[in-house]
């Protein structure tokens, strides 16, 4: 697998608590899953996807995790059209 160069903007992931380390009072479906954290930063040394990596964040702190995403970006949107909304408050138009 190719190595990602130092200075690339990436996202790392870290398991904060394994299922057996989680809070005692959570619902059963949540208790089965690990408690996971992701954070973005600039890669401090070359690393490959899925491998341990160290990043410097926007405020200059250094954090560790597993390299998860190269150039993480935001793709959230307005979603697909919801036809049920279109004729609310209009004078008409829907045949």
């Amino acid at each position: 697998m190719s190595t990602v160069p130092t200075g690339t903007w990436v996202e790392v992931e870290r398991v904060v608590l394994r299922p057996d380390q989680r809070a005692p009072t959570i619902p059963e479906d949540t208790a089965r899953t690990p408690y996971v954290m992701r954070v973005s930063g600039w890669l401090l040394a070359p690393a490959a996807l899925g491998q341990p990596a160290r990043v410097r964040t926007l405020i200059g702190r250094e954090l560790e995790g597993t390299l998860k995403t190269i150039a993480p970006s935001y793709t959230h949107s307005f979603g697909e059209v919801v036809p049920e909304l279109l004729d609310i408050g209009t004078a008409g138009g829907k045949p």
Partner: protein, 468 residues
Amino acid sequence: MKRDTSYAAVMARKNEIMKASLGIDYERYISSPVAFDYERLMKDTGYSLDDIARTQRETKVGDTPLFELTRLTEAVRAISPRGKGATILLKDEAANASGSFKARRASISAYEAKKRGYAGMIAATSGNYGAAVASQAAMRGLKCIILQEVYDSQGIGQPEIVEKGRKCEAFGAEVHKLTVGPELFYCLLLTLEETMFFNASLYTPFGIKGIETLGAEIATQVRARYRRDPDVVVVTHAGGGNLTGTARGLLEAGADKTRIVACSVDLSGLHMASDRDFNRKSFTTGHTGFGIPFATLPDRADVPRNAARSLRYMDDYRLVTQGEVFYVTELLAKLEGIERGPAGNTSLTAAVALARTLDRDQVVVVQETEYTGAGKHHNAQLSFARKMGIEVRRGDPRENVPGKTIVIPERLEQVTGSEQSMDKLRISYLKNAAKAHPVKKWTDTDKAFVAADVKKDVAWLESALREL
């Protein structure tokens, strides 16, 4: 020496971490497990209303417009009994830096953090408060870390929270994106301990004092234009800070006859810590999953004593369905020509229903709006809900089932909401208080505090305790 970072060990260090990161010694105010000197805690912040307004002006907060929603008011009057249909006003809090009233809460914390020499501030929040803290920190030259609950275990992010994370990063914050779970608080404690940053909790006296200007501005603006005090102010309710701060500001401005009405989206049946339910709700805050537990047990917050005490100021509590809020959100765009986000539109929905029962010369104020956009927009939420297997249709909103079906009303007449019994909440508060401290040990000070905390007198309390 390396400190023990296990869940139990960090939680056990909670009090010492809190004290260092807040600079407030709560022990000075606490008199028993159920009572503390609330007014002294608030007063000891040292800020007058004028001080807060001046500080907020420095960082683009406050003096927001108050709009009359003329076409929506007309639409309500058209379906109201003769002589009914109050004027609906909207306080456009989206005009604050970061796009919501939360900038008011963050502003005083950021000012305090800077003054006391902290290098940065931290908040654990999936809401608009994160962007508000990041924005205020940016203006004060402070570093900022936001911890948010955003993904389920499949890595699917709630679109509204994804957008809030983006905004925090846009203001230069380090954003920790976490999966579902109450361990967010554990992560907050660990990060506070590691960084020695200021804890910009929503529930400190600073977080509440910052909102008092909102209530005071509403009183001033309504009086100037309508020559009366607002008859009703409707507040979207979750953790209780918005309601507490607004009500305190109104009282400070002398508007002591104004009714304070809370409103939350009814999400009963969904578990807030459930990995499965997480992405099956279309509202990330302003819902009953926070509103009811925080009203009945305010001190469940991330500080030793919560400065947000909603039952102390609440006159009524209205519940609305997800479908009703989506209908009114769409109507706001089509009739009033503005697009705003879910938080203010929740109280707008209750206000529309309430206005029908109020006289025409009365005034009902929706006390906040928030920005909307990708992820936050109601179309984004409904489209996401459909992808998560939720049924979305038009019809009778009483057929809404949180986590299963969203029914968007067909007509404005169907937007009615429902009433949450206040006495039920008060009794539930008393039961929680009795769990914290057996009633037989309650002193007169305890009783006076508890009675005031549920907006009742001691005679009511004595009688309620006998029936508990």
